[in-house]
């Protein structure tokens, strides 16, 4: 584990823990957010018969870095009538909320920010901070569009946390653990051990679980889409209706915080989906490191698989965004309360019955 290595290096528990928790931020989230912004622009461009950014670096890969540099230099505009403390606190909190999620996500067998037993529960709880900060931003901006956007966002995220939680409970019923590391380790071996294929073991229940797991996966994926405010659920920041929703009044680096947080969040939910249903960092068909007998290769391979799965789900998110129109706010709520929650409850019941039997 990386923690042991850091502990030996620094000789202090506190320093080792600090460095370990900061590592994903600097090594992964920030570079990833920069990459994802560029990637989204390229994907949308190619879907729309355009080229996208082409000038800054090879195929414009430095474009987001240039954009961030520009945003850093911009004047920090605080409108006169805003609630200043809240207005300044909101972007920090929203970034904190989405960053804190990464602490419990296992990046590979050798690296997890904090291996807590309540991993899944912690993630769902921490993403609640995002709601608070969005509401804060909308209220503090003293702008009607921001307020409407924030209210919608709060209603949406809170509603969609219910089907998310129910699906998580469904998984917990089968696996008996909330720890994402244990959950990933359970799904080791080949891809038929993944939860989407009924989990490890070869009983009758495995085959009974497969259709239920597929339903659960779709519910979880749809609700995570809604939680990160992506199309078709991007109502809080619906550009054509509410200008930019809750971050209308933000500019410069504060805007960039919201923006980066959104992309970090996208990866976080993709990581959760892949950890719960698709084996997390586990390879679908064995490790090259095992075959060759090189032990240090395995964590690197695991990291590769983890990133690949995460990126795949992000790609699907982007694909949906550039294909689908947007739902209206009441239709969104109807989808959640009339369809997702009842279906996930029934799913939970059936899974419970099978587990008991």
């Amino acid at each position: 584990m990386i923690y042991d290595f850091l502990f030996e290096l620094t000789g202090s528990e506190f320093l080792a823990g600090l460095i370990q928790s900061l590592l994903p931020l600097f090594l992964f989230i920030l570079p990833f957010a920069l990459f994802a912004v560029w990637w989204e622009r390229k994907i949308s461009a190619h879907m729309q018969d355009r080229l996208g950014p082409m000038r800054v670096g090879w195929h414009g890969w430095l474009q987001t870095i240039a954009d961030i540099l520009k945003l850093l230099q911009k004047e920090d505009i605080v409108p006169r009538d805003v609630d200043k403390p809240l207005f300044n606190l909101a972007p920090v909190l929203v970034f904190m909320g989405s960053y804190a999620v990464f602490a419990a996500i296992p990046f590979s067998g050798a690296f997890i920010g904090s291996n807590i037993d309540l991993g899944l529960f912690y993630i769902v709880a921490v993403s609640g901070i995002v709601v608070a900060s969005i509401l804060m931003a909308g209220w503090a901006s003293n702008n009607k569009y921001s307020l409407l956007g924030a209210m919608r966002s709060a209603a949406q995220i809170i509603s969609y946390e219910i089907p998310t939680m129910i699906v998580v409970v469904t998984i917990v019923m089968i696996t008996g653990t909330l720890n994402l590391y244990t959950l990933s380790e359970m799904q080791t071996g080949y891809f038929w051990n993944w939860m989407i294929f009924g989990g490890p073991g070869f009983g009758v229940d495995k085959f009974l679980f497969i259709p239920l797991m597929i339903i659960a996966f779709f519910i979880l994926y749809i609700s995570t889409l809604a939680e990160v405010n992506r199309t078709p659920f991007d109502i809080p920041e619906a550009e054509s209706e509410l200008v930019a929703g809750y971050h209308t009044e933000y500019s410069g680096m504060k805007f960039a915080m919201f923006f980066l947080a959104e992309y970090a969040n996208m990866f976080a939910v993709s990581a959760i989906v892949s950890a719960v249903f698709f084996g997390g960092y586990q390879s679908p068909f064995g490790y090259l490191g095992n075959t060759l007998g090189i032990e240090w290769l395995i964590p690197i391979e695991q990291f590769f698989w983890f990133t690949a799965k995460g990126l795949f789900f992000i790609f699907v998110q982007m694909w949906l965004r550039w294909t689908l129109p947007r739902l209206r706010v009441d239709q969104l709520m109807a989808l959640c309360w009339k369809y997702l929650i009842p279906i996930s409850f029934v799913n939970l019941l059936i899974v419970g019955l099978i587990t008991v039997l």
């Binding site: 949308s44 879907m47 729309q48 018969d49 355009r50 009607k144 569009y145 409407l148 199309t231 078709p232 991007d234 109502i235 619906a238 550009e239 054509s240 209706e241 509410l242 200008v243 550039w322 294909t323 689908l324 129109p325 947007r326 739902l327 209206r328 706010v329 009441d330 239709q331």
Partner: protein, 383 residues
């Protein structure tokens, strides 16, 4: 006098609720220009909509009085800037009626081809931006990609892409480019599958239907009372097209259908119907262009252009079917080379008036869906 709306505070169950006034625009991504909509909201429900216009007023009608008749043409371009060819068409038809000029056959055919190409281009913008308003960005760019092909056809004909000054009183500024007929045929070949693609991507999308069907229903009697015209009136199920009901130029020679709203996805006259009428009209325009290309005669396009236009004292009203509806020109001549008065009946302006009827009881998000289906161009509303 403008009606002043007081914030009304009502109490229910001891909780005071306040109606909120939301100014949508003039700086808003979805008001299609500089329109300001004053929305009176109760929560997210619309109680009243008041459109405020005039941000793009350029005194076109007053300007026209200081110009000679041919000099007005470039000004006409700038009204409905998405359908400049149509604006010119209406104006030259009106002046030719006033002066009594017979234009050569070739000119008539070219004018019809241009007007129909312009109708497709204009509808493409309407459909694309409508998709973007609902949240689908990709159809928007697909539509603009196809519109670009039409703009290219205009560009090789007269050198301009948006404001053409192409149709002159009695003729045209240029004859067709030698490649024009071939490129137009290629465009028709290219464009037909693209309409199918648009239907797959947007028109029949479940979410799109959810957002537009049964939203902003315009009953046909309300539409007629407000003087609504064009795709909006046809979307309400009333078969009315100036090209057929009061033919001008040579439209009586072509065979085409007039699509009307049928309420396929909801009620007759909802936003989806208005949208779909535009999709179907593009196909009809293609048919007209195909027929016109087959029949177009040879000739000199500038032989009937008069050196100096000095109509007799009198007045004339001419109307044409522009992409957005009935575009009328009322011109009074006092016998000099300048018009005494040029009054325009802009379709967007008249259609916009019905906004309040359409929006009441819907939600904020629906205002966008309704405004997009009304399809206004502020250059024409304000003139």
């Amino acid at each position: 006098m403008q009606e002043i709306i007081e914030n009304k505070i009502t109490e229910s169950n001891g909780v005071a609720t306040e109606e909120m006034i939301l100014n949508m625009g003039p700086q808003h991504p979805s008001t299609h220009g500089v329109l300001r909509l004053e929305l009176l909201l109760e929560g997210e429900i619309i109680k009243k909509v008041t459109p405020h216009i005039g941000y793009l007023h350029r005194c076109f009608e007053k300007h026209a009085e200081a110009m000679t008749y041919p000099q007005v043409v470039p000004y006409v371009d700038r009204m409905d800037y998405l359908a400049s060819m149509g604006n010119e068409f209406g104006y030259v038809v009106a002046v030719e009626k006033l002066v009594d000029i017979k234009v050569p056959e070739r000119v008539e055919y070219i004018r019809v081809i241009m007007a129909e190409l312009q109708r497709i281009a204009s509808h493409l913008v309407a459909l694309g931006t409508y998709g973007a308003d609902i949240g689908a960005m990709t159809p928007f760019l697909f539509c603009f990609r196809d519109r670009e092909k039409i703009l290219h056809l205009f560009e090789i004909t007269c050198g301009a892409r948006l404001l053409y000054n192409y149709m002159w009183v009695g003729g045209l500024s240029h004859d067709l480019h030698p490649d024009f007929i071939r490129l137009t045929k290629e465009f028709i070949q290219y464009f037909r599958p693209k309409v199918v693609e648009l239907n797959e991507l947007l028109t029949n999308n479940k979410i799109f239907i959810e957002r537009t069907a049964n939203i902003g229903i315009l009953p046909v009697d309300v539409a007629i009372n407000y003087g609504v015209s064009g795709p909006m009136l046809r979307g309400s199920g009333f078969k009315w097209d100036i090209r057929r009901n009061d033919p001008y130029s040579i439209y009586d020679r072509f065979d085409f259908d007039i699509p009307v709203g049928q309420g396929l996805m909801g009620t007759v006259g909802d936003s989806w119907d208005r949208y779909y009428v535009r999709v179907l009209e593009m196909e009809e325009s293609l048919k007209i262009i195909e027929q016109a290309i087959e029949q177009i005669p040879e000739g000199n396009v500038s032989e009937a252009i008069p050196k100096r236009i000095k109509p007799p004292v009198g007045e004339v009203y001419a109307r044409i079917e522009n992409p957005r509806g009935e575009l009328g020109y009322y011109i009074i001549s006092d016998g000099t080379t300048n018009p005494f008065r040029v009054k325009v009946r802009p379709p967007s302006f008249v259609n916009l008036a019905v906004m309040d009827e359409l929006c009441r009881g819907h939600m904020v998000a629906d205002v966008i869906a309704i405004l997009g289906s009304v399809d206004i161009v502020l250059g024409e509303v304000d003139r």
